[in-house]
Amino acid sequence: MMFDQEILTHNLMKEYIRDLIEKGQRLDGRGLYDYRPIEVLSGTFTKAEGESWLRLGETQVLVGVKADLGEPFPDTPDKGVFVSNVELLPVASPTFEPGPPDEGAIELARIVDRAIRSADAIDLSSLVISPGKLVYMLFLDMYVLDYDGNLEDSLTLASLIALGRTEIPEVELKENGELEVRETKRRLELRDIPINFTFVKIGNRMLLDPTKEEEGVCDASITIAINGEGKVCSIQKKHGTFKMDEILNMMSVARAKWSELAEIVRGAI
């Protein structure tokens, strides 16, 4: 629900935010295309093979990458399995409820997943142990701990960092068919850094990195992923409408911001 304009921010606040933005200003003083401060917490918080706890303003997410062994899908015998999942924890917002992922959580997971897959950021064929029989399965579990808008970008950043940090136990499939899990670990290679950029439209202004309040008053929203070569690698328009030139403009902004965010990812790995 929170990704929809249905969110009820108090009407007065709504008007105030909209009035400000008409003047090109934001409630927290940021420029229209500025991100809030991004912080990657240090410490070990999970039992994952790779993890990252990231703050984007007051939004907090914790992402863990767990490895397991399993069979590949029948139609991709030469590829490992990569599964993305988002949990909107009830601790993150008074409006989140316990239970299986709703459409908002599912869309979020697919937005992150699609950027990573489209950019081939992970070499799934490197996850094969025995083609058609045994592969690594990577589970990207994204936990939303505190919700203040723009989960798309914060989850994407935290996921890239967690993947980049991932080290999985090496295994050997012996001739007799037995499996040996070794002490040594191999690092997952992050081959590209596809960044998601989420914009909202308020009036005729486009804003990057919306807060919860800005999501609540916006007329339209969209997430665009740009990879290291400056290519679009995924788009998801959410509610509202955009004009073609608006989309082309946002894409230019995103392209220009890529290095700034990629640097944060690289720095944290």
Binding site: N227, V232, C233, Q236, G240, T241
Partner: protein
């Protein structure tokens, strides 16, 4: 144990741009539309698009059930995209999966901007998209059908929403990707617009596109959507009749 195994064709497109179904990059598959196929629904439409068979129905404006979902100042819009168990080569288990839940959301968000929701405070409009036979592009075919169903239900709208997908196959930007291109092509970009205002109501993308490719795709999408929009308008004028277009070449 599947009876049907998909195999990638040796090549998806020739150097001259001939696609696996014989079309050129700017040619669309045949389309048939019919408004008014169901008796109980307030509005309905049936769309054939290539091998796709899509049924859409609209109920409402009507009372919201459960009541706590009622919005006091406007209509609640709900949409469900559902694939029939017999719509794919292998039988699909009934019930929603993650893909269909996402598609239900993007379809709702593609149609909602076109509806004067403030005209129906406290009511709900339910949109159902049933995929009977799938053959690449079910979501855009579904949006086209649902838009017709909404109009035929008499729901007040800013304009019809028309939709089409654009793909990339190697260096070719192609309109209306077919099954092979959908499975093994390089990019897929479904789009929907309200043609009168040229406002984009659906835009997704998968796979990579350079800046130029993206611009080219966006422009091609606009043309394709205009083509579809003309078919929709004709179908609305002639309810209960099948309005057909053969392979359509975009300029």
């Amino acid at each position: 144990m599947p009876l049907y195994v998909e195999r990638r064709p040796e090549r998806l497109i020739t150097g001259e741009g001939v696609r696996t179904d014989g079309r050129l990059p700017y040619e669309m598959r045949p389309i048939k539309m019919m408004v008014g196929v169901l008796e109980r629904a307030d509005g309905s439409a049936f769309v054939e698009w290539g091998g796709n068979r899509i049924l859409a129905a609209v109920f409402g404006p009507r009372e919201v059930h459960p009541k706590h979902m009622t919005l006091p100042d406007r209509a609640l819009i709900r949409a469900r995209y559902n694939m029939a168990p017999f719509s794919t080569p292998e039988r699909r288990r009934p019930g929603p999966d993650r893909r269909s839940i996402e598609l239900s959301k993007v379809i709702r968000e593609a149609l909602k901007p076109a509806i004067f929701v403030e005209n129906y405070p406290g009511a709900v409009i339910d949109i159902f998209v049933e995929v009977l036979r799938s053959d690449a592009g079910t979501r855009v075919a579904g949006i086209n059908a649902a838009s017709l169903a909404l109009a035929s239900a008499g729901v007040a709208m800013r304009g019809l929403v028309a939709a089409c997908s654009i793909g990339r196959v190697g260096e070719f930007i192609v309109v209306d990707p077919n099954h092979d291109e959908d499975m093994w092509g390089d990019s897929d970009m479904p789009m929907a617009m309200m043609m009168e205002s040229e406002e984009i109501t659906l835009l997704q993308a998968d796979g990579t596109l350079t800046e130029d490719e993206f611009k080219q795709a966006l422009e091609l999408g606009r043309k394709a959507i205009r083509f579809v929009y003309e078919v929709q308008k004709e179908a609305l004028k002639r309810p209960y009749q099948l309005v057909e277009r053969g392979v359509g070449r975009l300029s």
